[in-house]
Amino acid sequence: MLVAIDWHVLWLRIFHPNGTFAHALWATIYISIVAQTMGILLGLAAALARMSRIWPFRALSAGYVLVFRGTPVLVQIFYLYFAISWPTLHLGFTVPDAAVAAIVALSVNEGAYMREIIRAGIDSIDKGQMEAAKSLGMRNSLAMRRIVLPQAARVIVPPLGNEFNNMMKTTSLAYTVGVYELFADAEQGYSQTFIADYFLAVAFWYLVLTTVWTFVQAAIERRLAVSERADELSFRERLVAAWNPVTAWGRGAR
């Protein structure tokens, strides 16, 4: 069966977005950013709790990851939305209660994944760094903040980038509890017309978001990599290096 693309709808949705679309796009953006930020903070807290000397903290951290990584995020969103009555926030723009519930659920879920990423980042730093810091009279917390975490950040950022990429797409689940975000906007278009191209258009918009993020992430990684590497390459040099196989192939090399 042939898939006929309704170019008119696609054209309209991509090049002439309307007001409700802008609203939906903004919802997707702020839900992603807030949930990811809170997820990082929760993950950091859980990663530190895991290394605590106090065992209840360690147990709490382990239980948190077990539960929130082991159950579907959709279930978490539904449970939190229907079990708790959330306030509607007015912060210059309105954040409906469903969006608040979705943000909380996505944050808590993300925190469980971020704990593992942050833990791995911290573990990747040589033990000698902590020992050197302690030998200089630093307390654990100071050594963590000034010596270990800044170095771990470089290890954490690439997987963190993946997480945020995922997060932007996962926000579409918020539609299921009635949040008007990108996917809801497309779904509404479809349900009024039964033209599937609304979904094609929304896919394009998600692609725009994730692509923009790819560039932002590359910039962040470049900044973090500066300084300590002796053989620092510029962005252009790396781009050239990345394209090398392609150009070599073009010249007839294998």
């Binding site: 302690k134 030998s135 200089l136 009279g137 800044p150 170095q151 300084s227 300590e228």
Partner: protein
């Protein structure tokens, strides 16, 4: 009148079932340089790491300037591990130089040196920088202040590490095989800095295999084997007339 800076009394240490230190006692006087030698596995590195409580002690006690390290005395005479805060405070007076330098790679040479004075002692940044530049010049690296460790040679990195430890104005400096990770051609520059330090009257405990250094800089050499001190004396004693059979064997291998 001599002043004891470091006193270890009957120090014991286990790793699981393995007994690494089986009762080590050692006094180090102010201004003295003591070299600890011995085969690998003899416990010398573990011992020096106990002195600033990077390793817990299972028995015995260590004091620096009369202050018990890592523990506080309870009413019943038993020892309990001290709070993290006061252990950190005790460590400010004990400098440590590691085999693998352990410089902070995300900070320049000068930033490495001023990190602890500024953030632990609360020295104003400007003054810490002036002191830091002076210390880096002293180890011959005045031109490397803004360089990151990744761009320094091993010998240069180790000299920065020495400057970093000195920036805390410690009463005692510990060196854990400071030249073992270095290429032979750069060990000299590190040993020279240490030798100067010894002659300026710094109290130093040095775990090393560099007998040449021991000869010119050490006031006393201590031979460890199997978790105990088996012989100690002046460098001359060790080079000319070591008594213990194990010492003779060990020296014949490394000299």
């Amino acid at each position: 009148m001599t002043e004891i800076v470091m006193r270890a009394e009957d120090v014991h240490k286990h790793f699981g079932r393995l007994e690494v230190l089986k009762g080590v006692s050692l006094d180090v006087e102010k201004g003295e340089t003591v070299c600890i030698i011995g085969p690998s596995g003899s416990g010398k590195t573990t011992f020096i790491r106990c002195i600033n409580h990077l390793e817990k002690v299972d028995g015995g006690r260590i004091t620096v300037n009369g202050q018990l390290i890592g523990y506080r005395e309870r009413g019943n005479g038993k020892l309990a591990e001290d709070s993290e805060k006061s252990i950190a405070k005790q460590r400010t007076q004990i400098g440590m130089v590691f085999q693998r330098f352990n410089l902070f790679p995300h900070k320049t040479a000068l930033e490495n040196v001023i990190e602890a004075p500024v953030h632990v002692l609360g020295t104003p940044e400007k003054q810490a920088e002036e002191d830091g530049i002076r210390l880096l010049s002293r180890v011959g690296l005045a031109d490397k202040c803004g360089t990151y460790p990744g761009k320094l040679s091993g010998g240069q990195q180790q000299r920065v590490a020495i400057a970093r430890a000195l920036a805390m104005k410690p009463a005692l400096m510990l060196f854990d095989e400071p030249t073992s990770a270095l290429d032979p051609e750069v060990t000299g520059e590190v040993l020279m800095v240490m030798e100067e330090l010894a002659h300026e009257g710094m109290t130093m405990i040095v775990v090393t295999h560099e007998m040449g250094f021991a000869k010119v800089a050490a006031d006393r050499v201590v031979m460890m084997d199997g978790g105990v001190i088996i012989e100690e004396g002046t460098p001359e004693h060790f080079f000319e007339a070591p008594e213990h059979e194990r010492t003779k064997q060990f020296l014949s291998k490394i000299l």
